[in-house]
Assembly symmetry: C2
Homo-oligomer: 209 residues x 2
DNA sequence: ACGCCTAACTAACGCCTGTTAGGTTAATAA
DNA sequence: TTATTAACCTAACAGGCGTTAGTTAGGCGT
């Protein structure tokens, strides 16, 4: 399935990575190396072009970062919403929550350089870039709050849970995975099951024999 | 309790912040502003000295960062160990675990710029500095693994929990707090209680009426 | 009073950064 | 065939970075 049409696409011919190509590479580099050490020259080199050329597609480095951050949230948001809506209408609360957790972790680990880049570099980018990303984040957080509120109302969750805190705790835990996850030691799906087990039932041995 | 001896310590006299003073200020800046935007000139300015003077106390920027990282882990390690050993010998497993969780969160939020700086910048520093910090980290992780293993053996925890995963999940969750915690919206102790509640018993409404 | 030691200062270095202006090429449309 | 345009290149800029070398000020022990 390699080079089907035109065996030699390159060879002094213009490669034309284009705006999307630059963005893909930037997302990959940000995920791999964090923010500080990813310069425009590194992005350009990885894209096979020169640093100045990036300014044909983007007005500034901040603009690139902002685009990566926004795409990152959009991907995980859609992934999570789709996972929930794809369930049969009669799915019980526990199943829904497990699906949402799995979808978030999948987007983070298996699917998207954009989402993992977002989680990795968000805390390192200039304040203005963070602010620009906030509305997109808020929308995703609202999706979680809405889901958790519904699960609380229908009796799936305990009545004394604080929705906001629970959401911050959940997403915080899931995102923290990036700091240590090694695909050689287990799959994202298996890990998401562990996460769900702990969050849903806790780790304490029950006394009810 | 302010300026008891010598009302005017400064006033063109040498301020003498010293090595520890520089380190304290570096830790505070790293906690507040992350790694990339904290230059030696900023540290120096905050300390009331000039950038070059830092090289009297430290051989390189990496040396400063390494010192901050190490102190950060040592503080939280001691905090957690003391909290556990300070309990009465007959304290039950749940109490012990709750104390350990509270101690970690306290060190992170209330006590130490060094610990919070560690968590915030660890992922952003050069690889060599990260590597130098690893042994100290490993020792703290071993302390947790030891505690959790004991709680599993004595029947406090479920028998199917994976110690390593649980430890990664716990510390990951606690550390993620730094990304959103606002002292105006609640205390570290109250939050640690919520964390313990969720981890120990889960969020699912129980059916056992 | 002297000399030493500690803790600072000044001034500069080479390097890397984001960014800009203007020129060049290849493909497409008329 | 010619004109247009999208996508790139080249070369340079100012500014910030970590780091170094040499110098200076103040306090302590003798």
């Amino acid at each position: 399935m390699a080079q089907n049409t035109a065996i030699k696409v390159n060879e002094t011919s213009r490669s034309a990575v284009g705006r999307d190509g630059v963005l893909d590479i930037a997302a990959r580099l940000f995920r791999e190396q964090r923010y500080g050490s990813v310069s425009l020259r590194k992005i350009a080199e990885a894209a096979g072009i020169k640093a100045g050329s990036i300014y044909y597609h983007f007005g500034s480095k901040d603009e690139i970062v902002a685009a990566v951050l926004d795409a990152g949230i959009r991907v995980v948001h859609e992934s999570m919403r789709d996972a929930v809506t794809d369930l049969r209408a009669d799915a019980d609360g526990e199943t829904v929550l497990r699906a949402a957790i799995r979808a978030h972790l999948r987007a983070l680990i298996d699917v998207s350089d954009y989402t993992s880049a977002n989680v990795r570099i968000f805390g390192q980018v200039p304040q203005s870039v963070r602010d620009a990303n906030l509305p997109t984040r808020r929308a995703y957080e609202a999706e979680w709050d809405s889901l958790l509120s519904q699960l609380k109302k229908d009796g799936t969750l305990k009545q004394d849970v604080d929705i906001r805190r629970l959401r911050l705790m959940l997403i915080g835990t899931l995102n923290a995975t990036l700091d240590w996850f090694d695909p050689d030691r287990g799959s994202a799906d298996a890990l998401s099951r562990t996460y769900a087990d702990v969050f849903l039932n806790g780790i304490l041995q029950r006394q009810d024999t």
